[in-house]
Amino acid sequence: MNNSVNESYDVIVIGGGPAGMTAAINAKKFGASVLIVDENDELGGQLVKQTHKFFGSKMHYAGYRGFEIGNILKEELVELEVDVLKNAVVWHIEDDEVFISFNDTSSNIKFKKIIIATGAKERPIFFPGWTLPGVLFVGALQTLVNLYRVSPGKSAVIIGSGNVGLIVSYQLIQAGIEVKAVIEKTNKIGGYRVHENKIKKLGVPIFLSAEIKSALGDKYVEGIEIISNGKTKTINTDIICIAAGMLSQNILLRTADINLVYSETYNDYLPIFNDEQILLENKNFIVAGDVCGVEEASIAIEEGRLAGLSCCEHLGLLDQKYNDLIFEIQKRLSELRDAR
């Protein structure tokens, strides 16, 4: 991996998470010149803080912890001698060049194909007192507790009863933090029964059809006031953790004037693309991972593989004998989605 970059590449990949890394690996493997760009200090995206073991199939690194998968992919990038630019922010994309800010300067680099794999961001929710110290996104809390082994408080209230909210509630209890309540806006629990039962068994109350009236506290969170079934309730807590879902991190698509359309399935604004992950609007733009619909790491990995191969195919680099690979990936994606 070197930090010196060329003036142009066949393929530039924006985002070094599971989708971006597998896209870069496959594009390079099948003959393209590749640059991968990431704004962080290290590649891996959300994998770096995933401490739990993945399940599924061997193709999806079952049995490995998230950060281990990140390391495996990073090593492949080194072996394949893919150019990597870290601590670099792409701030604009035009038809055939990207504008990147790094080393206190800005550079333009040309591309033939661009793979946007910028991942997801958390869905913010706002309520009086939301800016108080102690209110934070579930990703932030999970990273602090599982990766760094620290906690900004001894008790927490979780906003959102999807799988993430339920799983993190369980993880917090394991870490010795008291989960006082899970607050759900709708009238039913969002996550799977298995997670719901785990925390119910531990005595965590789940409030449905609940609305947040206000976070309480002067200099930091001391409690939360909610309205559930018409009744106002005050819960003492140090932490208010927002687990209200994830959204595509699509700002680069917007700066490139790509049309985003509301998707009911994902409850998000996404670009329109074909089954080779190529944007209908611009065939040199390819997407992969959560940016084209938040799902999960195994899907991000397969979409990354597909994006890399699809680039090589359209650049005329892909040997005919590999044509089946694209079809195989599409089949696996279909199976993964059916299973969800």
Partner: protein, 95 residues
């Protein structure tokens, strides 16, 4: 606070201790901590004040997007403490 034992993740690995300074006082952290996690380990939960209304703020997104965790580190302003690893002898000031 620091979480020393965890039923799944096991006991905290013994790591090298790092000394740093925050708002004039000396603190300890472990190698591998970010500035944010080092402060939280030392029970510092207010990170900065908002510019105009001087309201308390602290880490929010944890991935370097929201700027709520910014502090001045070794003289450089607006350093994202959630993404920056703490180093021996760092001088950190809240903004």
């Amino acid at each position: 606070m620091r979480i020393f034992s965890h039923p799944i993740l096991g006991p905290l690995e013994i790591k090298k201790e790092i000394k740093f300074e925050f708002n004039g006082r000396k603190y300890k952290a472990f190698e591998g901590d970010t500035i944010a996690s080092a402060l939280i380990a030392n029970d510092i939960i207010i990170f900065r004040q908002s510019e105009i209304k001087k309201e308390p703020r602290a880490i929010f997104c944890g991935i370097g997007k929201c700027n709520d965790c910014n502090m001045t580190v070794n003289g450089t302003r607006n350093v994202k403490t959630c993404k920056t690893k703490v180093k021996e002898g760092m001088v950190i000031k809240s903004e």
